[in-house]
Amino acid sequence: MFPLGLFWRKCSATFLSFYFHLECILQCFFSLAVFGRAIHAIARISDEFWFDPLEKGLALRSVNSSRSAYACVFFSSMFFQHYCCTAVSQPCQKEKQLSLPCKLIIKSVLPVFRCVNVLERNVEKCSISSSPSEHHITFQLLCRHGVVKTYNLTFQECDPLQAVFAKHMCPNILKVHSRLLADVMIHFPTSQEEITLSVTPMKVCFKSYTEEDTDFSRTMLTEIQLNPEEFDYFQVGVDSEVTFCLKELRGLLAFSEATSVPVSIHFDRCGRPIAFSIEDLLLEASFILATLCEAEKEAASPEPNSYLYKCCIFQFHSLFFGAVSYKEAIGDTFQSLVTASDTEEELGALQSSPVL
């Protein structure tokens, strides 16, 4: 509907002559449920997704057809009981390529993880493997009573797209437990497509988005006001009002509730993307959604002014919250998710600083 307004990069790699071997085993029941929910969350974005095994772990990526939503879930190798991703270059190929991203149809993978709660009870082990000669990925579920379910899924070799989005440039960062976000979202009807998040340093408000031609006599409007105290971390540099799709966010929330990791929200003014991300030792996920750009609003605030405004607010903000350092804590543990460009660092120090 509205494009993400991001740069996209294609990871280039030559696939023609290269072997690849992937083997990962999910054992812990918890992990399997988390992995299954990640697939379900990805399914909200698009019909297909990239299965992108890397040396450090496995990434699942997806972009919707209008490129207004991007999702990436990265599981570190430690997430799996056993993870091995090796690439064997052919003799003629000098450069050793590590990744073989492959595109899978979400419909073919969903049945494997259809009912996550049942999986938790019945499946003892899940192994995902791919071997060079066969052109498919194998999901094998080892269930109780010796039942083994094997799914051989063919894939298409294809470069994954990655959204280039510098989260640390966003003036507004909220960090909140996924439970709270889910509690907020249940108030909106399932038919609600977009919601507006508006923030000021004093309050946060989620409300139903209404188009200009909305018939108010037919539409129920819902609004939820939250106190900044309810957030684990609260930084508002610019008063803003962003409108985004609820569908994808609902997917992320179902997933993050399974991991019970807080969700960070990075955003700017309207028209710029909003990122919802979760991060812990074993996995990282980020969902980047386009926000509605209202042309009139943009025109009303010419660039120089808004820049000034930003500076002022930044100053105010640093007073407001005490020490705010822009020290770049370089996330060295994992490759960054949203982008492979060097603009992406985690504001680790910033995010962990408590409010008050």
Binding site: M220, T222, I224, N227, E229, E230
Partner: protein
């Protein structure tokens, strides 16, 4: 015109939302009539159109801790609003552990019932969720369309069996036919029948009892004059009946139905201070 009400008690809130849920399942849109001491939910689909009618009545004192209303004029101290009960149900279903729910008539973009739910939060102040439910204000000249329907001059009045049992029977019959015949007599027997080219199914209920109706105009006496064993039957839309049975959130303390042969089936469900009447016209 002013209206403002507040529910604090959780049990009252849950009871109220169950009633709204029942109504939402019976009517896409309905009329909410407010008077100083009562609320009415009214659905008056014209019988000529094959629709069903509903009349649900509850005393505000049993639910609301505060209830203020001011009608259009002192001599007509009532308010009639048209709204979608599903919207109100949506607002209330996520308010199960609310500290307080306030309902207020407002007029911002359009006339609205504003439902403000105060929920407990992690911080010291509560979390406030507001829903603006659009309503249409019914002008006074149209109030007459929504008068309480009179109890029809029925052939048979009978207590219903446990609604859950009845529901599971009707649910299965629904798969076989679009219409169901309800028949009952004055000696406590009721049958639910479906008939198609391939199959006929009848479920018999016995010893249900016939409610005593105080006779004003000889209604009871005329019934007495009738053969106690003879069945009065009406064929109705099975979906309409199932809607009523499936929508019941609490088993009513009293449930009965009145049958006017080949014309209408009139259901009355009583639960404490709430009464629900539902009229399903017979099909030819």
């Amino acid at each position: 015109m002013r209206f403002r009400a507040k529910i604090v008690d959780l049990a009252c809130l849950n009871h109220f939302s169950r009633i709204i849920n029942t109504i939402a399942k019976l009517a896409k849109t309905c009329i909410l009539r407010l008077t100083v001491c009562k609320l009415y939910f009214i659905l008056s689909d014209k019988v000529a159109n094959g629709g069903a009618s509903m009349w649900c009545e509850l005393s505000q004192g049993n639910f609301f801790d505060e209830f203020q209303m001011e009608g259009v004029a002192a001599e007509h101290n009532e308010i009639y609003l048209e709204f979608v009960p599903e919207n109100l149900w949506r607002a209330l279903k996520t308010a199960q552990n609310a500290k307080a729910v306030k309902i207020k008539l407002t007029n911002k973009h359009c006339p609205c019932l504003r439902v403000a739910v105060e929920l407990p939060s992690l911080s010291s102040s509560s979390r406030i969720v507001t829903h603006d439910i659009p309503v249409g204000v019914i002008p006074r000249r149209m109030w007459n369309d929504f008068r309480e329907p009179s109890v029809p001059d029925f052939d048979v009045s009978i207590y219903l069996p446990v609604l859950k049992t009845m529901k599971s029977v009707v649910e299965r019959m629904k798969n076989l036919s679009n219409f169901i015949v309800i028949e009952a007599n004055l000696s406590g027997e009721m049958n639910l029948k479906i008939e198609t080219d391939l199959v006929s199914v009848t479920t018999h209920f016995k010893d249900l009892g016939n409610p005593p109706w105080a006779s004003e105009d000889g209604c009871q006496s005329s019934a007495q004059g009738r053969d106690l064993e003879s069945m009065a039957e009406a064929c109705i839309d099975i979906k309409k009946l199932l809607q009523l049975l499936a929508g019941q959130q609490v088993n009513p303390t009293k449930a009965l139905c009145n049958i006017v042969r080949k014309r209408i089936v009139h259901f009355i469900l009583l639960h404490e201070e709430v009464s629900l009447q539902y009229f399903i016209p017979a099909v030819a």
